[in-house]
Symmetry: C2
Subunit: 433 residues, 2 copies
């Protein structure tokens, strides 16, 4: 969707080199686009206006691994998968997990406050960061690399940089939280009659499984159907179709069967109350992986279906069923026959509400409806006190809308922060604000 | 320690009234000190310079309680205990918990990013907030009252206000996270030979009990001794003394004995490995309350012992033993016979490192050593990459030191934020920065 044209790509190998690049760029008012793994979906990392691209991909040092203290300090250019492996190697869990984890990098994960499938139990990227090192627009380095769980010394600068999409500074390193690595997991695929059942099941599982309840993903039959049709090796979990499906996971610190027992108890209770129609608990690691592959093949499976309009939104969890009903109706009014393909990190209130073109329609014609469809979806979201960007950020895609939905006070405060941190406006111009 | 003299106290009854007060004060450049429950320990809420006090104590509406969505929206003047009760009444837990909870108010809890005894499992106040309503210095109202777990729309303004101690805006309402209420708890008091054993026990309990491990407080024999001597009804948990003690708690969502089993398993494993010397698990709610009362009587018990120098610091968890050894030695050099009374939210790396005067010394003479002692303690903290304020904040007490420890870059960014948010400097002048 976005085509960039960089006037140059600089690939510094250290924080000092990042500092020198930015000091020089700032002196000469040369705009710079920070870039990590280049997997962002809203264009924040794209040099739209011919800027210099500053890649953090060579900042790959693992500076400290402290399994006892449950922290590690890594540089911004590690891929998320590499960071997970660093933790894994000392019997710890770094719980951030995204389909793009083999490519996306820590700097981008923090710059965008990435979400993913681990948020239910462990929080967004923001919640996984104890300290940061950031190079400012003028080349000065802010060393906020502490590894403390409590530190009330002045304003929270760290959380200002996280999610600022490279407009306030360039994150070069971070102290990340680690967790005990689960010794066992249990995974189930569940058939549901509707979205209200999904909400009831989520509430029941949260109350019975509590903190051991580590994932809850929801999709309608059409999504599962296109996945099994178009993704090699994907198999239907049930012989008969159900209107909706949920993928549940529980985790346990000891390999004593507790995770599966807790999951079974929750599903048994749900069945007795008529909340679920069918359920299968994975009987092997291979089957659990198969269930997860269904979820992770979502993007891949959409491509053969034709053009699609993409939305990443959130509402309060209890409003998800109402949101999807209203959005489906709104989309049908604008483009009869369009095929909503919502998939949801349900427990986070987050819906990837993508819509595939009607069968047989010309892609161009459907994509011409992008603005109308997105506008209708966002109106629906705002009517339910939701957010027009749950985890993907603003970038260039939602920049104009941001000013409309945030209100004048918030926009004024954000612009003042931007002006204070980057007075010459060299950092990622035209993004976010 | 701080004596204020307010030129007036205004007690607005609504956000609109707070807005009008601040608009007028800003127009006439009249300095304003926001005040909630007035329990802060660093002077942030005191009108040192004759300012107007703006009390949020009349903002007591519970605007929304949503047990299904695990949130509540309350105003800043609710006491923490009242907020806990609102959650309790719908079978939910609001986990922030402090000894002053009967008096301190939500506005102050968030303005200072309060910590307390629930941080190990649930995080600081910051982690418990989904949305905020804030009145700015010029009277404009920022409505950031969303109830979303994911919202990546622009800069994180919310976390900038949290912990800013009333210098960037006045928090008038918040959307707070609720949790499933534990159906059972198990509580143990443990005797330890030393601090290294406390660290080993903490690591073992975290690995075996995981998220059900909800509290871990540590104190030396001298602290327990002054508590049982000076607090009515306080009883020694063991007949024989131990050099150190830990208070452990586990929680479970079902009343099926799991919490106690998990705690027993952890203590049994600790005993087999020689980590603990003795342990008693509370056999009744009354006994559990008695154990907790020992912890909560810490401040009360210090008064009869004479003057004391107070420190609220943090270090990485694994560095706590070394911190206390070094700090004890440093204090002894400055004031032989002074009695360190450290008590620790151990799992948070947070030590309340208070020091009682030597027996028989004049209080005035001891208090004259305040700066020397605090300086030595803070040097020790900084040598271990710690923080000079873990949960109490900066206020006036640590304002001068802040500039010394944060570095020029952080101070410059904070000052720019302050100037952007409160250009006339009317909000809590002389605090934090």
């Amino acid at each position: 969707m976005y085509r960039g044209r960089a006037s140059a790509v600089v690939r510094p190998g250290s924080t000092e080199e990042v500092s020198k690049v930015l000091a020089l760029a700032n002196e000469h008012r040369i705009p710079v686009v920070p870039q990590a793994g280049n997997t962002g979906l809203v264009g924040a990392q794209i040099p739209i206006g011919g800027e210099i691209v500053l890649s953090v991909g060579r900042l790959k040092r693992v500076r400290v691994v402290d399994p006892q203290g449950f922290t590690m300090m890594v540089e911004a250019g590690l891929t998320l998968a590499e960071a997970q492996t660093v933790a894994d190697d000392v019997n710890r869990l770094f719980p951030l997990s995204l389909p793009s984890e083999g490519t996306c990098q820590i700097g981008g994960n923090l710059g965008t406050n990435a979400g993913g499938v681990g948020v239910l139990a462990y929080g967004n990227a923001r919640q996984l960061v104890l300290g940061l090192e950031v190079v400012l627009a003028d080349g000065r380095v802010w060393n906020g690399l502490n590894a403390l769980k409590k530190d009330n010394t002045g304003y929270d600068l760290k959380d200002l940089f996280i999610g600022s999409e490279g407009t306030l500074g360039v994150i070069t390193a971070a102290v990340l939280k680690l967790f005990p690595r689960p010794a066992e997991k249990a995974t189930a695929f569940v058939g549901l009659s509707g979205l209200d059942s999904a909400l009831a099941l989520f509430n029941l599982a949260q109350e019975t499984a509590g903190p051991s309840f580590t994932a809850f993903e929801v999709m309608p039959h059409l999504v599962l159907d296109i996945i099994v049709r178009h993704v090699a090796g994907a198999r239907r979990p049930f012989a008969a179709p159900h209107p909706w499906y949920a993928l549940l996971e529980t985790s346990g610190l000891k390999a004593d069967g507790t995770a599966e027992r807790v999951l079974t108890d929750a599903l048994t209770a749900a069945s007795e109350r008529g909340i679920i129609d069918d359920a299968v608990i994975a009987s092997s690691l291979g089957q659990a992986r198969d269930f997860w592959r269904l979820r992770e093949s979502y993007s891949e499976a959409q491509k053969p279906v034709g053009a699609s309009v993409k939305n990443d939104v959130s509402v309060p969890v209890a409003a998800i069923p109402e949101f999807i009903r209203r959005a489906d109706a709104a989309v049908e009014r604008i483009c009869p026959g369009a095929r909503p393909l919502p998939i949801s990190h349900f427990g986070d209130g987050n819906v990837h509400y993508n819509i595939a073109q009607p069968e047989g329609m010309a892609s161009d014609r459907f994509m011409g409806l992008w603005d109308d469809i997105v506008h209708a979806v966002h109106e629906t979201v705002l009517g339910l006190n939701g957010s027009i960007s749950a985890e993907h950020g603003i970038g260039v895609m939602k920049r104009e809308e941001l000013a409309q939905v945030k209100g004048d006070v918030a926009m004024d405060l954000m612009r003042k922060i931007k002006a204070a941190f980057d007075p010459k406006g060299i950092l990622n111009p035209g993004k976010v604000l």
